[in-house]
Amino acid sequence: MKIGVLRLVASLFLVVAIEIGAPLFPSIIIDQALADTTQPTLDERKLEVAKHLTDWMQHELLVRQAIVAVVSRKGGKDIKSRDYTGMAHSGLAVYDPRAQTWIVYQVVNQPHMQTPVAVLWKSAPVDFFYGQTGYDQNALLLIPDAATQHRLYSSILTGQAFKLAFTTAYNLLSRYDGADSLNCNKWILMTIAAARSDDYDPDHVLQIIHDGFDPADLHLGFIGREVVRLKSNVRSSEIPDHGPVLTVTPQSLYESNLFIEKIFAAAPAHSPSVVH
């Protein structure tokens, strides 16, 4: 009986250590990062996937003469439990005649002193896709109508789109209409809402989103809620004690009426009911 209890305690300790150990011992992580001074090795297989998806994206956008589109890349396998598109991270692909390709503008998390920080970043497509989780050759393009594309393009040229990155407070589960934090999908939604309304004031844009966007509602159990609060890219104070987490995800963008074309590189394992 005692052995059984010990096993139970040991199992619990192991799980807790894996789940929440890293955030509790940040100095260990920092030390490991400092000790590991070797250059990261190139993942040739990942690079081939990235090249394939770059070819696909360029082809799809060129034949449609789309100068701006939303591009989403794959997340891990368990992401499908909360987003049937299978996508996790998104950027705004903007055609750059100097580069002769689309450059992907995106909000990324660049942690500083264990705090998640939102930073606007731009990447070539191959770099963007290289950052995906796993090796699935799938991605998602969401193409707005031509008028919205042109306004989005102008907002990049003038820098107005960058002003919509209104805070450096990053939160993976940022509330869709909240002014406390930002993440990649929320910034994209804000730039599109601003372009459609031709109003680039972040407060106004958040109100427009509040009035007219259906966010993803992520239902978390008690344990899930507490585990999520410990994640390094989540601001725990913004996670509600009760009710679903209302946020912007690739699925909520996909289901919105903001796009005239929605194109997967390959059919997702759990296909959405309608693929345009």
């Binding site: 059984g4 100068i67 450059i103 998390n109 970043w121 990447s123 070539a124």
Partner: protein, 120 residues
């Protein structure tokens, strides 16, 4: 046996929780940090920018840099004005934005770039 079963149930319970941080992949790509661009470079002029290519199997990876070796700057209206005068790609489809014609040409090699946006 009962306790082992309990432990398994607890494990299953934890395993069923969403692992949001594990796969959201919301950080910048590490491709720039890899040695792929450390190889021999061949330059090729594209208007005011140069491309530094790295020999590799298949199509090349290139990095766009100006005469000072700086990477590509922000896309602005001024950039489009310059490009409009210099580009001679009559075959390319064109999209007009704010009365500026943008020829859509897609390169056959792969641009490599990952950097913060320089906000005005």
């Amino acid at each position: 046996m009962k306790n082992i079963l309990s432990a398994s149930l607890v494990l299953a319970c934890f395993a069923a929780q969403p692992s949001f941080a594990a796969n959201d992949s919301d950080v910048a790509s590490e491709l720039s940090a890899t040695p792929i661009l450390a190889g021999l470079a061949v330059s090729e002029c594209i208007c005011e920018l140069s491309t530094h290519a790295v020999g590799s199997a298949g199509r090349r990876m290139v990095k766009l840099v100006d005469a000072s070796g700086n990477s590509i700057g922000e896309l602005t209206s001024a950039v489009l004005d310059v490009k409009g005068e210099r580009l001679d790609q009559s075959y390319a489809p064109r999209v007009t934005v704010d009365k500026k014609e943008i020829p859509l040409v897609v390169r056959r090699d792969y641009v490599e770039m990952s950097q913060p946006v320089q906000q005005k």
